[in-house]
């Protein structure tokens, strides 16, 4: 707990002082002291920019964003990593995406498939080996679809994975498609999200037009990856409210649901960073409107459900949704009060992901805790400052390398009535296609840092001593060695779910445990001097 307000300006100065001048200059524009002016205007931050070599960063690569994040949670595609063995190994089951394939359903998520390139393939090319890999995977597993993920050397040796995919698609008679997601593309996982979005849209979305299930209230949830079972909670809530969930991109998803996703009437975007491209393309091509929702936090969940119901302009749906919200919020409130009493006034820092550092502030607020500092690992300016800044974002060389699909309206499948409904609702103040970003919702004078480094992490903790620090596995044990509990927001410390109402209660409990655990008071033996504060 802090007695006086920490000085973000002084902290920033101290952090920058450590760097060589060139690095310091860049970091200067990646650290911002928050200030919220009229119309939610916040200071500009430099984001989605290269990490200086030598900096110990949280960031991973394009392959991780593509294969690991976006395609990882889909259970019935055989995802083949084309490259030396490492990348396929490290992305094997390490993201805790849960799935429910039923008793007999296809589920390849527990498998790691690789073309295992050797030196001779690097020298002479790996296309033949890739072709053979795809053939062998088909012969053994007979999947609905096979995808190919390129790793760093693939681009350099000039393997054309898309040509191989095309050939094999014709030969095998199933969908085969490739991703040029070499690790060095872009500056973080973010480029991989975009590449994944492009290929999902190009190769799968729209292949199946049959409307199954309920014909009304059809929605997709975008940017939800079913870590720790979050998607299960959301699916359950939507069903109880009366929505028909067509597809999830991509927690607990299937190939077939992607192919059918254009039959939904509304897209709700959770992780704006990783999936807004699909939302945008679906709107352009099919006329499906999208809005930015959030199922992290009880209040945010209620708000999102209400907004979803309002879109369909159906009293019965709204009533049913309200009833679910009421029932759930009453249960949540009992738990929340219990934990708030023990957590109120404590402080948190969140440095993680491309939306989680924002979303989870909701839960801390519900616990009466204050966020002192936050930042993303791989987000862009719009995730910090809101989509209103998109026209002003300078496209640098790294972003220019990532393909931008040019989508046009599908005259046959475009649903004009959706666009008309959107227009009507907008006139009533309903906001579509917007994300206000993290900073407008943060306190003035809180510190916002993009792509935080290991050095900055330690310095922040040492100086401001938060009660809990949220990050990922690489940071976790550094933080905890310092006597501060870490809550992992990538894998939830093998906990969760944290989405929806039930998830909020889980999070309250887990944070209560973290910040009130007796363990942190046991670090010193009776004969040891207390570490100087």
């Amino acid at each position: 707990m802090i007695e006086q307000k920490p000085d973000a300006g002084q902290m920033k100065e101290e952090l920058l002082a450590k760097y060589p001048s060139k690095v310091a200059k860049k970091r200067d524009s990646q650290m911002v002291i928050n200030k919220v002016e009229e119309e939610e205007k916040v200071p500009a931050i430099l984001a989605n920019s290269r990490t200086a070599p030598g900096i110990i960063t949280q960031r991973g690569c394009t392959y991780a964003g593509c294969k690991g994040v976006v395609l990882g949670p889909t259970r019935d595609i055989v995802n083949i990593t084309h490259g030396p063995i490492g990348c396929g190994f490290y992305s094997w089951l390490t993201r805790r995406n849960q799935t429910d394939a039923g008793v007999d359903g296809d589920n390849f998520m527990m498998y790691s498939f690789s073309s295992d390139l050797h030196e001779d393939n690097i020298v002479f090319g790996g296309e033949k080996r890739l072709e053979q890999t795809v053939q062998e995977a088909f012969d053994i597993f007979h999947p609905k679809a096979i995808s190919i993920f390129s790793t760093c050397p693939v681009g350099l040796i000039g393997d054309d994975v898309h040509a191989v995919a095309k050939r094999m698609k014709e030969k095998l008679g199933i969908n085969v498609f490739g991703f040029s997601c070499e690790g060095y593309k872009g500056v973080s996982q973010s480029a991989g999200h975009h590449i994944a979005n492009n290929q999902l849209f190009r190769h799968i979305v729209g292949l199946d037009d049959e409307v199954r299930g309920q014909t009304k209230f059809r929605v997709n949830i975008l940017g939800e990856y079913n870590i720790g079972g979050d998607a299960f909670v959301i699916e359950n809530l939507l069903e109880r409210c009366g929505f028909e969930m067509v597809a999830s991109f991509s927690g607990n998803s299937t190939y077939g649901s992607f192919a059918n996703s254009q039959t939904a009437d509304l897209n709700v975007v959770m992780c704006h960073r990783s999936i807004n491209y699909v939302a945008e393309m679906m709107e352009t091509k099919y006329g499906i409107p999208w809005f930015k929702g959030n199922f992290i936090g009880a209040n945010a969940t209620a708000k999102t459900l209400r907004k979803m119901a309002a879109f369909f302009e159906d009293q019965e749906l709204s009533d049913r949704t309200e009833a679910v919200i009421k029932e759930e919020l009453e249960k949540v409130e009992v738990e929340r009060l219990k934990h708030e009493a023990r957590c109120k006034g404590k402080t948190a820092m969140l440095f993680v992901g491309g939306s989680r550092a924002h979303h989870y502030q909701e839960l801390f607020t519900e616990l009466g805790m204050k966020t002192l500092a936050a930042g993303y690992e791989f987000a862009h300016r719009d995730d910090y400052e809101g989509r209103k800044v998109i026209p002003t974002i300078k496209v640098d060389a790294d972003s220019r390398n990532i393909e931008e699909l040019h989508i046009s309206k599908d005259d046959e499948k475009y649903r004009k009535y959706l666009a008309e409904r959107k227009e009507r609702l907008e006139a009533q103040g309903y906001e579509f296609r917007d994300y206000k970003g993290m900073m407008p919702e943060m306190d003035a004078d809180s510190l916002v840092i993009d792509d935080i480094s290991a050095f900055e992490t330690e310095k922040l903790i040492e100086t401001w001593k938060p009660d809990v620090f949220c990050a990922g596995v690489k940071e976790k044990y550094v933080i905890q060695k310092m006597g501060i509990p870490c809550k992992q927001l990538h894998n939830y410390d093998v906990g969760g779910p944290y989405a929806g109402f039930a998830g909020a209660v889980n999070f309250y409990k887990d944070i209560d445990m973290r910040v009130n655990s007796p363990i942190w008071k046991l670090i010193q033996a009776p004969w040891q001097e207390a570490v100087a504060a």
């Binding site: 450590k18 760097y19 060589p20 690095v23 290269r50 990490t51 200086a52 070599p53 030598g54 110990i56 960063t57 949280q58 960031r59 991973g60 690569c61 394009t62 392959y63 991780a64 490259g83 030396p84 063995i85 490492g86 990348c87 190994f89 490290y90 390490t94 589920n107 527990m110 498998y111 790691s112 498939f113 690789s114 295992d116 390139l117 050797h118 030196e119 690097i122 080996r129 053979q132 062998e136 053994i140 790793t151 760093c152 350099l156 070499e182 690790g183 060095y184 872009g186 060389a397 480094s453 050095f455 330690e458 596995v473 690489k474 550094v478 060695k481 310092m482 006597g483 670090i523 010193q524």
Partner: protein
């Protein structure tokens, strides 16, 4: 409901597709070895993802901080080469993280581009970009050759090439080059050599680096790890011992060729017989008597092996893991009458192939195999015990086999940081674990009439 529900019993020959690998890539081994030098920051010359993946995997295995930096390649570096990235990285690292040593390893990206890392490091030295008294060295670890074990071997060999010095003042030390083992094993090896009263230097040494205590403070460079000045002394040592042929024999040979330090290549001292050979080799070279303490430990292990024979004899075992471990683990299991049926390792090599086949002439052995094949073998010929890294848990659950986690990585259990599996003590620990699993299974499955109080 089977977890690995798509794994058929019928085995089809595969020439390209790897499913559920029993290996990973070189750089992670190099990173692990580098952490065994005191004050060293491992540096990954490649894309950010490599470093992130390696740090994450090592962190999940040890539940400890794993610090390492990266050259953060982007498309530009992939086209124009990574020299500028590495030069800038070195400058930033010394300014911000101030290590004593930077151990650079390469990746498939920088190797495919053809970056000349030794030349870039030389340039940095020549241009005065490396602060006085600091050391930067490198190992070449392309991910498309060999495996994680090769990466470890290459980095340990690079330590000999780059860090060992010869002052021509013999210091009588033994150079101990441990294979890829846990911090707990490193500690146990040091204890045994110390008990023999032999002066030694051991590198790498991750004891005190990846098994550190909670103090309320993060030591960016923990107390453990071999100091560079101690590694340097290996050039004037009396004798070198490598523990594990695949992981450290290359370093031993380098020590012999470059510094004329005679060497003995030993197996990893895992199990009774391999530990006997280890103690005996040290004893013979140094002409020392083996202290009673070691004799007692050995006797305790043999005692337990003989007492519990009935629970082990004839039990069928399947193994996946790394070559040096598999060689002496199978020897250990066979010394207790167990029947090793199936063995896979992802790390190819004639040496391991020959040794494993000599030790287990009746077994299914695939050097360069994967865990998918192992699972298929098990489906065709079931076993009583599976020993592998954490990924074996899916097979174990599907086939309802007692499962011992052993090797790298272990992502779902604790203990490997603290409890060794090398030496006689390690043998006791392994044996206790195996017995526990087999006896729990007997207790679980025994009908009422056969349920035993005493075992």
């Amino acid at each position: 409901m089977a977890l690995l529900r798509h794994t058929p019993k019928e085995i089809k020959e595969r020439g390209a597709l790897v499913v559920n690998p029993a290996k990973t890539c070189q750089p992670i081994g190099a990173m692990y070895a580098s952490l065994g030098i005191h004050g060293c920051l491992p540096h990954s010359h490649g894309s950010q993802g490599c470093c992130a993946y390696h740090r994450s995997t090592l962190t999940r295995h040890y539940k400890e901080p794993v610090m390492a930096s990266t050259s953060s390649f982007t498309e530009g570096s992939a086209v124009f080469g990574g020299q500028a990235n590495l030069l800038q990285a070195l400058q930033t690292i010394f300014a911000v993280y101030d290590p004593q040593v930077i151990a650079v390893h390469t990746t498939c990206l920088s190797e495919t581009i053809g970056d000349d890392v030794p030349q870039i490091i030389k340039k940095s030295y020549d241009e005065g970009k490396i602060p006085e008294g600091k050391i930067v060295f490198n190992a070449s670890t392309p991910s498309y050759q060999g495996t994680h074990v090769t990466g470890y071997a290459n980095m340990v060999k690079a330590m000999v090439t780059r860090l060992v010095k010869k002052a021509d003042v013999p210091n009588g030390k033994a150079v101990i080059l441990p294979g890829w083992v846990e911090p707990s094993d490193m500690k146990e090896i040091k204890r045994l050599v110390s008990l023999l009263g032999i002066p030694f230097v051991m590198f790498p040494d991750t004891d005190g680096v990846l098994n550190t205590p909670m103090t309320g403070h993060h030591n960016f460079y923990p107390k453990g790890g071999t100091k560079v000045e101690d590694i340097a002394k290996a050039g004037d040592a009396k004798h070198g011992f490598s523990l594990g042929h695949v992981a450290t024999q290359p370093a031993l040979e380098e020590l012999e060729t470059k510094f004329k330090v005679p060497g003995t290549a030993l197996d990893l001292p895992l199990g009774l017989l391999a530990t006997d050979r280890f103690i005996n080799a040290l004893r013979t070279v140094y002409g020392v008597a083996v202290p009673e303490e070691i004799d007692v430990e050995r006797g305790q292990l043999v005692d337990m092996m003989s007492d519990m024979e009935q629970y082990l004899w004839g039990k069928k075992v399947a193994l996946a893991g790394d070559p040096d471990q598999l060689i002496t683990l199978t020897e250990f299991l066979k010394s207790m009458g167990m029947d090793v049926r199936h063995i896979v390792t992802g790390t190819e090599g004639n040496y391991v192939d020959t040794r494993l086949k000599e030790l287990n002439p009746e077994a299914n052995i695939k050097v360069g195999g994967d865990m998918f094949l192992l699972h298929q073998w098990i489906k065709n010929e079931p076993v009583d015990l599976l020993i592998s890294n954490t990924y074996g848990k899916y097979i174990a659950r599907d086939e309802d086999i007692p499962f011992l986690r052993f090797g790298f990585p272990i992502l779902d259990r604790q203990g490997h940081q603290f409890f060794p599996t090398v030496g006689y003590q390690g043998g006791l620990y392994l044996l206790e674990k195996i017995l526990g699993l087999l006896m729990d299974r007997q207790d679980r499955d025994a009908p009422e009439s056969k349920f035993e109080l005493q075992m």
